[in-house]
Amino acid sequence: MSNSNEFKEKKRLTNPPQTVDIKIQRRDKLGENAYWETFTIPYRRNLNVISVLMDIRKTPVTKEGKQTTPPVWDMSCLEQVCGICTMVINGRVRQSCSALIDDLLVSDGGNTITLEPMSKFPNVRDLKVDRTRMFEHLKQVNAWIELDGTHDLGPGPTMSQETAQERYAYSRCMTCGCCLEACPQYHDDNYIGPQAIAQARYQNMHPTGKITIDERLEGLTQEDGITNCGNAQNCIQVCPMGIPLTRAIYETNRDITVNALFGWLRK
């Protein structure tokens, strides 16, 4: 954290608010209309969005005093590694476990924090979404390496240090959905998205995975394929794991230009 941010945080926390309003987009079940409910919780230091939601769950009474159901959300690791607690916080997609209330109050101003489920996935209930389509995308691009049989295949092929490092970056993907949520091209599952393209690139870079590159590229040249990318490059800005998603897209673009678009010239 830079010095100016530290200064701002201190300035804010010398005079913290008594209470914080949490505005949550609720939905009873898939397909029903969404509605908003606001809860007021007492401020204390070092709250994060998950601990705030846990406080609300204990006494689910809205700001107006109306008794309601406890809000539903997903969580697991609580250290920004599993990706399941991803939601839209103050208009921006991120993991709720690593979203600190103190930081949000300083950066966004005001005493209200808005929580919404990701808008690009089916909203199962409240803040919970169904991200099955991301796993369907992985199947579409064959994001794995074929290993035939259980017999001893000997030592694996060697790869350069640069390749290994770039592949390690892609391996950090936790399928959280931030890239798809922030993508202005992605909606109604019309585009396979940066996550699947990066995973295809991850396997294409592997010396054994390279053997089946055509199958992965074929998955990426379908109707919802890589050409739907609009190059807004929001994905790399919001990726919580710092994955070089745009590099994956453009390296794959080159593979497709060489192998798919001009592949027939090799016949």
Partner: protein, 243 residues
């Protein structure tokens, strides 16, 4: 090497390539021809006349301009309709460029519709070119455009059109370079973008000066830049002036 390519994939690639060649290439030629107006009426009218003498002109016009333009603009509108702009929540330069590429595209659809009906077909009632378009009237070409551009509103609309085209083309070249996997790395993309922004500024400057050349000799530049001016002047107009 037997990758199946979907219809969407091929249409997108065709959309990208038609934007560069022929449409982008045509824009360079167009701005070059317009700039001849800096050297006066005769130079411009001769340039229009030369275009009229291009062999297979109708074929070139239909397959080199009209069909690619119709495809590029109509498919571009379909692409724009897919966008869900979120520039205020995700306030990044490239995200705004993404929105701007679609906004300029939609503006250009209407601008070019007007421009082609106006100066190519002379079909906009109330304007000087009505029934008397530049195309086919090389000897009056300069006068027709001049009479229109004396209306500040029309001149401003054309300058906006040049600005939108310059940006749409220059950023389109960047998009082409990244979408075809030519410019891949972060740094390379940044420098390529600077080059495209410079190209946009250059095209806008040249195009705007060409537009002003119809209302003021040599456009916005000092007349020393257009020293050939005197000898290019028509002393004996070979067609009766309308104005």
């Amino acid at each position: 090497m037997s990758i199946k390519l979907s219809k969407t994939f091929l249409l997108r690639k065709l959309h990208q390539i038609t934007g560069i060649v022929p449409l982008g290439a045509f824009f360079f030629v167009h701005i070059f021809t317009n700039s001849k107006a800096m050297s006066g009426e005769k130079a411009f009218n001769d340039a229009v006349g030369d275009i009229h003498h291009i062999p297979y002109l109708l074929f070139v016009e239909v397959f080199g301009i009209f069909l690619p333009l119709i495809f590029h603009s109509i498919y571009g509108i379909f692409i724009s309709a897919e966008a869900r702009p979120n520039g205020f929540d995700y306030n990044y330069g490239r995200n705004w460029f993404y929105i701007f590429q679609r906004a300029t595209g939609i503006f250009l659809f209407f601008f070019l519709l007007f421009h082609i009906l106006n100066l190519r077909f002379g079909a906009i009632p109330g304007l000087e070119s009505y029934g008397n378009p530049v195309a086919g009237n090389a000897t009056q070409a300069f006068d027709i455009v001049q009479a229109e551009f004396r209306n500040a509103g029309i001149l401003l609309f054309y300058i906006l059109g040049v600005a939108a085209t310059a940006w749409h083309l220059a950023y389109g070249i960047w998009l082409f370079a990244v979408d075809w996997g030519i410019v891949i790395g972060e740094k390379a993309q940044k420098y390529a973008l600077y080059a495209c922004i410079a190209l946009a500024a250059g095209l806008f400057a040249v195009g705007t000066n060409a537009a002003f050349a119809f209302v003021r000799p040599c456009g916005l530049l000092p007349q020393a830049f257009c020293s050939e001016l005197e000898e290019n002047k028509i002393t004996q107009p070979n067609a009766p002036r309308r104005f």
